[in-house]
């Protein structure tokens, strides 16, 4: 379907007719018999993959199949942090690709995703952490990622509400990425869905894949609750359910699904412009444009598909953040929620070919998926269209067999 351009002018025009003239942002098609490419999973990563297949490779005979509603999984459940200050080369490459695409995403998609490069701090609170972050700065500077190490005084200047004096874990400085920040998570999925739809792709919601059909080791299609659909290539981009889908295609993935939780406070007037991560004490916080303090912490240790986590993680995170930001003690928790995150053996993602020809998998983003969406989609599209991509090279699902890990916990206690 053709896309109507969004702008202040368009809003003003529609206002004259009570906004009754707006059209659907994306279509609601019935599945066709066959597509060149089927992407399973209409979250951010799946939609971005489809978008770049169309935009970069002209492949538009594409269906994106979603068992629930588009953007209804982890895309809409995360704490919206965007950063690329990763230590290892392959991570820095894909996350920085993503971050740079976020910079122009609103204009590219003609949908305001509210990317806000407000600056991101990772606090150094032990000598060990300080060393890890300084190392990251040196690596980043060679990787083309702009980060710097800043002093406690500069931290305090950027975050007036912070307590840098301890008592337990004084702030010794911070790894600062000035162009890190946040974006509106739902808008990323919606913006991509609208753009995919405008390129003629089919976003098919409420359609669950019930089986993967292969012939001679090659994929030929999927069975769904809306019937069988054929395809030449299949992209599995279903965070939280990758194992289940892989099982249907007859292979196993080196991942486990765990619960990760987050919470928001009631909204207050702006008090913190930057994103702050305190990994020693396992907590991170930013303030949304609505004014809520958005808070995240660590994952549970056991497999869990319920999208609910254990309360003691919330407790631990909150305690840690009160130490760092004493004023939040008098705010109120408005809402907490959970998502399912896929963890691999090295906590880094998998973007890979699979044992089945024509099937590609994108999973295992753990707690770091949202920030990667455009880079992941870009790389995955290249992998699916050309058979290889320098950005996905190191993220193969076979790396564990070779002992070739991409371990980001080196610099930070927890990866996000």
């Amino acid at each position: 379907m053709a896309m109507r351009r969004y702008s202040a002018f368009a809003i003003a025009k529609e206002a004259m007719s009570y906004h009754l003239g707006w059209e659907r942002a994306w279509g609601s098609p019935a599945p066709k018999k066959k597509y060149d490419v089927i992407i399973v999973g209409a979250g951010g990563h799946g939609l971005a993959t489809a978008y770049y297949l169309g935009k970069n490779y002209g492949i538009t005979n594409v269906a994106i199949i979603e068992k629930g509603w588009l953007g209804g999984g982890n895309t809409g459940r995360n704490t919206t942090i965007i950063r690329s200050n990763y230590l290892q080369d392959p991570s820095a490459a894909i996350y920085e690709k993503a971050r740079s695409l976020y910079e122009t995403m609103s204009q590219d998609l003609n949908y305001n995703v509210m990317f806000s490069p407000r600056g991101l701090l990772m606090l150094g609170q032990t000598e060990h952490e300080v060393r890890g972050y300084k190392r990251t700065v040196y690596a980043n500077n060679l990787q083309g990622v702009a980060t710097e190490w800043i002093s406690p005084a500069k931290v305090k200047e950027l975050v007036p509400i912070i307590n840098i004096d301890g008592p337990r874990y004084p702030v010794l400085g911070a790894l600062y990425q000035a162009r890190g920040g946040t974006a509106r998570h739902d808008a990323v999925a919606w913006g991509y869905a609208r753009a995919c739809s405008a390129m003629g792709m089919d976003v098919i919601q409420q359609c669950e894949v019930t089986g993967v059909r292969t012939q001679g080791g090659k994929v030929v299609g999927v069975d769904t609750t809306k019937g069988a659909i054929d395809c030449d290539k299949l992209g599995m981009v279903v965070a939280g359910h990758a194992s289940v889908l892989a099982e249907q295609a007859g292979f196993r993935l080196p991942i486990e699904s765990l619960a990760l939780q987050a919470m928001v406070s009631e909204p207050i007037k702006p008090c913190m412009d930057v994103v702050v991560m305190a990994n020693t004490v396992h907590g991170y916080m930013s303030q949304s444009d609505k004014g809520e303090m958005v808070i995240g912490g660590g994952t549970d240790g056991y497999n869990n598909y319920t999208q609910r986590g254990s309360f003691h993680h919330i407790e631990e995170t909150v305690r840690a953040l009160i130490e760092t930001f004493p004023m939040i003690s008098r705010l109120k928790q408005l809402r907490q929620w959970g998502g399912i995150v896929d963890m691999t053996g090295d906590r880094s993602p998998i973007l890979s070919k699979t044992p089945v020809e024509g099937i590609f998998v994108n999973c295992g983003w753990g707690t770091g998926g949202f920030k990667a969406i455009p880079g992941s989609g870009w790389a995955m599209a290249e992998l699916m269209a050309r058979g290889h991509s320098p950005l996905t090279e190191e993220f193969s699902m076979y790396r564990f067999r070779e002992g070739k890990f991409i371990d980001e916990s080196v610099a930070a206690g927890v990866a996000h």
């Binding site: 969004y6 702008s7 003003a12 009570y18 659907r24 942002a25 609601s28 509603w69 080369d89 392959p90 820095a92 910079e103 204009q107 003609n110 305001n112 509210m114 806000s116 490069p117 032990t126 000598e127 060990h128 060393r131 190392r135 040196y138 690596a139 060679l142 990787q143 083309g144 337990r168 874990y169 919606w190 009631e266 909204p267 207050i268 007037k269 008090c271 303030q287 609505k290 004014g291 319920t306 254990s310 309360f311 407790e315 909150v318 305690r319 840690a320 130490e323 004023m327 003690s329 008098r330 705010l331 928790q333 408005l334 809402r335 929620w337 320098p390 070779e402 002992g403 890990f405 371990d407």
Partner: protein, 993 residues
């Protein structure tokens, strides 16, 4: 105008007047008031501004569903934003402020958004503010952020304290209305341990307001008797001011007790968070009245009908002299009766149903009130408060038939059961067509660890709206024996779902019908979302922000999803609800943290000598939960100077290190040697009794995880030293293998880290110092290097190890922890003549680096294998297996291209910055500069008077003498030569004396 009535008020004590301020103005109320009732009693109708359009906002409700009346309460370290006035009890001296306006509540510049409202429909920001690109961050976003938010951010540290409490119960009942009381009594009589909590300060819920009769007496009397009976039972715990805030898996239910919110400064904790394990949970959480969607339903003075009744009956407050009632059900007629009983005027009851002929409407008619059936409100008139309503036909499009002057409107759109707790752990709902409500589906409850239902909903929370049904349901569900408490059966005519008033309202009116008055979401916004394809209820919620306000849509969600369903032409149950997430209403973040803050944020581990260090200038470094002295500062001395002094003391005379934090694990048994051979890369079974050996442990994935000296204590006993951070982890790891893999091996382990104090006495004068204490032969012959002996030193029972991490003559002495401090004092005293000084972790780090010893956490980072560190000498070639061996055979681990340990020496003698990378030519496929190595440890060596470093470099050991480039800050490049990592005393002459 709203006012305090001269008589009545169940909950207020007129003998106890209380003073408070609102925006600096002095006002008065009574004990028993809420902030909301006190404000209304003082004719304060306007209490805030809405989120988006900054429209004037008044009190709508009387309980947890209130979306508007959010105030700043208190000052300084007791200031709290967004306090819900309807659920906060008034106390003397309360200082309150309204929110989200500038410069004042009455005149708010932000209300310009209201004028522009037409241009700011739901989700407008997704469609604009995109050009120019930088403007979002620098222009649009700051303006939006400033305009959004609600209360001011607190600035001071919280002056109050909070606590946790724990409880266990067979049955937890949430809600102290007549359903909850009935259920609690039934369960208690059956012998169950019962925990009953009520979120307000009072028992009885709605029934006591509505004048229900139970077992032949007024509800209030029945409630009092029942509470008294429960109070006498040993198996019952009763808590008021305690809200069941969330239900978590396996019956873990949270009770949020507002202990001292109403008595600030009395020394009690402000809030207490109860964590209760419930065998079963009964939710008797009642129901919440819904608003009706008519134009202008957000103007101050438009309230829920039940709330109007509450204010009149409970607090003797009248929202207005002339109150028009608008409804789609019989219950709202009770409000008319309550108003009439209080001597107030009800100009009309406007009933959307085609006819209103039930007992309640008839009773109201009999009092001379006009009842306009089949009618609705076309529009509410007024700005900052209601001045009148325009009446129309419900079936029409909103043409005004008549205008009625009034100063309040009481609306009722029917009732929604409070299903939050039911739903928190996955309990499902069904749509009840007749009563137009989602209620708990008894066939699909949340299940517990046994797979059985762990929640039962009763009373109104289960969809029953009349007292007779409520009581019977609660009694039965709680397993009550005998007769249930009974109320006279009431006949109410069916309600009629009304989602828009009038049903044919055009776009102009729909833009003025508020669903969510806090976030400014209107009927037109939901319809726009549907039109644009945001079809799922989650999409609509997120696109319009419906239900995302601080009331989480308690009053408006059902209305919103009914509008959405209508717009999409699908039945309501197909649309479904958004997910109910804890907490039920917002709970303080302070309460979640509890007591764990400040000094007791986390446990602090102290060595026996901790207090000595504290007195003697320790500059602390956190290491796990321990604190270790980084160095000891003397008066006027900087950290760097102190470290260098400490190193010189050790190198030239003698220093003391508190090494008590090092992990000490006893491994004992016939198979202990075999076990340690699996755990360490070295051979430990062949270590002779009396000797020590440095050992390495790897994860099963091959990476170096810990190191330390292993001591053979006896034929079947080894003592394994671990790093400070590794003690608990390694002990757990040992137990893991012994219990889960090699369970037939006869081995015991014990973590004795805290049983011993350990001191390293290092330096050329170390032996002399210890000989002053006397009691043991410490000669080279009696205790050679890498051996240990037991004996007494100066009267202390001691195990003396000849091991050295500094490269000097060194003894590590372990004494019982209880004697640690005395032993340390004795060492300090004996060492005085040698100028002994304690040294900290930094001096230790530098000295080991001078010797080229690796440090776990510096040279290792979880990606390094022993082979990378040239530690092949510590990997036994004789063993078939050890943990990590197979992993190290994988192709990438065995690659000759891995970065390997070398020493690094700058050409100019300076110190290479920590963590710097060595670059290679060119860039990789992703355009990143190629790298060939990195610095792992780097220090200024006071011993050698120059910078020294260790690092990992590709093919490093084969490239001795080569110079590498390390780009550092500001485009500078440090040049360093690859050298041997042992910088000091290469032959070990100093430690082997």
């Amino acid at each position: 105008m709203s006012t305090r009535l001269s008589k009545g008020g169940r909950l207020i004590d007129r003998a106890k007047p209380l003073n408070f301020t609102f925006n600096g103005r002095r006002m008065a109320g009574y004990e028993g008031d809420t902030l909301a009732s006190a404000l209304l009693g003082a004719d304060q109708m306007l209490v805030g501004r809405s989120f988006k359009y900054h429209r004037p906002r008044g009190i709508i409700a009387s309980g947890a569903e209130e979306p508007n009346a959010l105030l700043g309460l208190g000052e300084g370290g007791k200031f709290e934003p967004n306090q819900r006035a309807t659920t906060t009890e008034l106390f003397d001296g309360a200082s309150t402020t309204s929110q989200n306006h500038w410069p004042s509540l009455e005149f708010d510049v932000g209300a310009i958004n209201n004028k522009l409202g037409r241009f700011l429909p739901g989700g407008f920001y997704y469609k604009t503010f995109m050009f120019p690109r930088f403007a979002w961050k620098h222009v649009f976003e700051p303006v939006i952020r400033q305009s959004a938010g609600l209360g001011k951010a607190p600035t001071a540290r919280d002056e109050d304290r909070y606590e946790y409490a724990y409880a266990f119960a067979d049955v937890v009942v949430a809600g102290g209305g007549i359903a909850g009381l009935t259920a609690a009594l039934a369960a208690a009589k059956a012998g169950k341990r019962v925990w009953l909590m009520e979120q307000t300060a009072h028992w009885g819920g709605r029934a006591v307001v509505d004048g229900v009769e139970i077992d032949g007496k007024p509800a209030e009397a029945w409630v009092n008797e029942t509470v008294e009976a429960l109070g006498k039972m040993d198996n019952v715990t009763l808590r008021t001011r305690t809200m069941a805030s969330g239900l978590f898996d396996h019956g873990y239910i949270m009770g949020y007790e507002r202990v001292a919110d109403h008595t600030p400064g009395d020394g009690r904790p402000r809030h207490r968070l109860w964590r209760i394990r419930a065998g079963h949970v009964i939710t008797a959480t009642g129901a919440i009245e819904r608003s009706l969607s008519f134009a202008g339903n957000d103007i101050p003075g438009v309230m829920l009908a039940s709330a109007v009744r509450d204010y009149v009956v409970n607090w003797a407050v009248s929202p207005g002299d002339r109150t028009v009632i608008v409804t789609n059900n019989d219950d709202a007629y009770r409000t008319a009766l309550a108003l009439l009983d209080a001597g107030l005027l009800v100009p009309a009851v406007i009933d959307a149903r085609p006819e209103a002929t039930g007992a309640l409407p008839e009773a109201v008619r009999a009092r001379g009130v006009r009842v306009l059936a089949g009618h609705g409100i076309a529009k509410v008139k007024g700005g900052k408060r209601v001045t009148g309503v325009s009446i129309c036909v419900q079936a029409g499009e909103g043409a005004e038939i008549e205008s009625i002057a009034c100063d309040a409107v009481a609306m009722s759109g029917g009732w929604s059961p409070v299903v939050h707790l039911w739903s928190h752990c996955g309990g499902k709902l069904i749509w009840d067509e007749e009563r137009a409500m989602f209620r708990p589906d008894p066939k699909r409850p949340a299940t517990g660890d046994d797979g059985e239902a762990m929640v039962t909903a009763v009373g109104s929370a289960n969809g029953f709206l009349t007292p007779d049904e409520v009581l019977a349901d609660a009694h039965k569900a709680a397993g009550g024996q005998g007769k249930a408490p009974a109320a006279p059966a009431e006949s109410e005519a069916p309600m009629m779902p009304v989602w828009i008033m009038p049903q044919g309202a055009g776009p102009d009116l729909r833009m003025k019908m508020w669903l969510d008055p806090q976030n400014d979401v209107k009927v037109s916004d939901v319809q726009l979302a549907a039109r644009e394809g945001y079809e799922s209820v989650e999409h609509t919620k997120r696109y319009t922000t419906l239900g995302m306000a601080t009331d989480q849509g308690k009053m408006s969600n059902i209305n919103g999803l009914a509008i959405l369903s209508d717009a999409l032409h699908r039945p309501i149950p197909e649309t479904g609800t958004t997910t109910f997430r804890p907490p039920y209403t917002p709970i303080s973040i302070g309460a979640i943290a509890g007591e764990a803050r400040g000094d007791i944020f986390q446990p602090l581990r102290r060595t026996p000598m901790h207090a000595w260090h504290e007195i003697h200038g320790a500059h602390w470094e956190p290491v796990g939960l321990w604190r270790r002295p980084y160095c000891f500062l003397r008066t006027g001395e900087g950290v760097h100077d102190a470290v260098n002094r400490e190193i010189r003391t050790v190198r030239n005379s003698v220093g003391l290190l508190d090494a008590s934090t090092l992990g000490k694990i006893i491994v004992k048994g016939p198979d202990a040697g075999k076990f340690l051979d699996m755990l360490y890369t070295n051979m430990m079974s062949t270590l002779p009794v009396g000797k020590c050996r440095y050992g390495l442990m790897c994860s099963e994935n091959g990476f170096l995880s810990d190191d330390g000296v292993v001591v053979r204590l006896s034929e079947d006993t080894w003592l394994c030293h671990t790093t400070t951070g590794g003690a608990d982890r390694i002990h757990g790891w040992m137990e893991d293998w012994l219990q889960c893999e090699w369970w037939d091996w006869k081995v015991y382990t014990a973590n004795v880290t805290e049983q011993y104090a350990q001191v390293a006495i290092a330096g050329p004068n170390a032996r002399k110092l210890l000989e002053k204490l006397g009691g043991m032969d410490l000669s080279k012959e009696a205790i050679p290097f890498m051996e240990w002996r037991e004996g007494t030193l100066g009267g202390f029972r001691a195990r003396v190890h000849r091991i050295s991490f500094s490269g000097e003559l060194s003894f590590e002495v372990a004494v019982p922890a209880s004697e640690g401090r005395a032993f340390w004092d004795a060492l300090i005293a004996a060492g005085e003549e040698f100028g002994v000084a304690p040294y900290g972790t930094e001096a230790m780090h530098i000295m080991r680096a001078e010797k080229g010893f690796i440090m776990i956490g510096d040279e290792t980072d979880g990606t390094v294998i022993p082979q990378d560190l040239n530690l092949q000498w510590a990997i036994s070639k004789k063993k078939d297996d050890y943990l990590g061996k197979r992993a190290q055979e994988r192709s990438h681990m065995a690659s000759p291209d891995r970065w390997k340990l070398v020493g690094l020496e700058t050409l100019d003698g300076g110190v290479i910055p920590d963590g710097a990378y060595a670059v290679a030519e060119g860039v990789n496929a992703n355009g990143q500069r190629n790298m060939q190595g990195r610095v792992t440890s780097t220090y200024y060596s006071p011993t050698l008077n120059k910078g020294i470093a260790m690092g990992l470099v590709k093919h490093g050991p084969d490239r001795m003498g080569e110079v590498l480039d390390f780009p550092v800050d500001n485009g500078k490049v440090v040049k360093a030569r690859i050298v041997d990592p042992v910088f000091y005393d290469k032959d070990g002459e100093k430690q082997n004396v």
